[in-house]
Symmetry: C2
Subunit: 205 residues, 2 copies
Amino acid sequence: MKQNQARPPLRERNRQRVHQRILNAAFELFRTTGYDQTTMDTIAALAEVSRGTLFNYFPTKSMLLIPFLKELYFQRVRPEVLPYLETQPTTLQALRFLFISIYEHIFKFPDMDHAIQALQQEMFHPHPDDADINEGTGFLDNVQAILEYGQRRGEVRTDIALEKLTRYVGVLYVSLIGNMIDMGATNKYTNEVDILLAFIGSAFR
Amino acid sequence: MKQNQARPPLRERNRQRVHQRILNAAFELFRTTGYDQTTMDTIAALAEVSRGTLFNYFPTKSMLLIPFLKELYFQRVRPEVLPYLETQPTTLQALRFLFISIYEHIFKFPDMDHAIQALQQEMFHPHPDDADINEGTGFLDNVQAILEYGQRRGEVRTDIALEKLTRYVGVLYVSLIGNMIDMGATNKYTNEVDILLAFIGSAFR
């Protein structure tokens, strides 16, 4: 019985394996075939699970999109941030770099709107047991790293706790995205980001 | 048939009447007996509808809490804002007044946490047909009135559209509330508001 604490029971390990196999299959198909063209049947076939098993793990295709978005962030956006800071940009340049990188790697992926709305919802309702927007992505960790860098440079006020500043900036950014999607105005992304950065930038000093 | 455009059909008018009767009954009971002590049965009895009808309109008691919160805002908070501006406070004093007034009139009402979380969700997902946090409250109208006042006083930057500034401030405030509720830290309300105002205040100039 004690063994269970060190290692989950077989049943749970099998569940995790199937879960991961489905994710891998879905991600590969989304990347190669595209989200719209991928069907639940092709995901089940590539993951080598029955259609019933797939629907048991993920009742809808869109439920596979959030893990996929997080994977895109984790694999493509996240690794760019710290190296960029080594080029000694200003804090605002670094935030802009992060926000534009998200656009390039995630937003431009077809059919992202619905998934980003769902992510947005998670952002504002983080509960310990649920995945939140930071978990599996490191988005807020990235924002915090940039703000901490900015504090060291003397560009970001230090009389407000780093964790609160991170939350303010994260919330403003995520709500901006949600608003653009609601308005169908993601084509104005860069412009909206620059206006938000003007607001945030003056709040730093 | 043309008549329908000017006036909703009888069936719809009856529906609206019953809806309003239920709200009136619930609000009266929440105010006098308290939310926890009010049962769906006592609401049905006071509204003079059957239990089945009540559950048809409002499947849970908590669904009556959002309209009630909005009513509290509309009746108690909203009327205080414009008269306060006539005392010529600074913009930050006016925002602080609004946020503290919300606390006094709404937060201190027992068992508000769940309802405020639901309101928060609405705030970030405004759709034309759904009620949003501004509808029935005028919260964002109040924020906007204060920011416009601040622009006239030269305290709030005018190079960012008033509508965007309103959204930034509204989003920051509502997320602050959500966060405090998630953390069970509403006792730190005034402190958290003052830190947020420090951040917002420096972004105005």
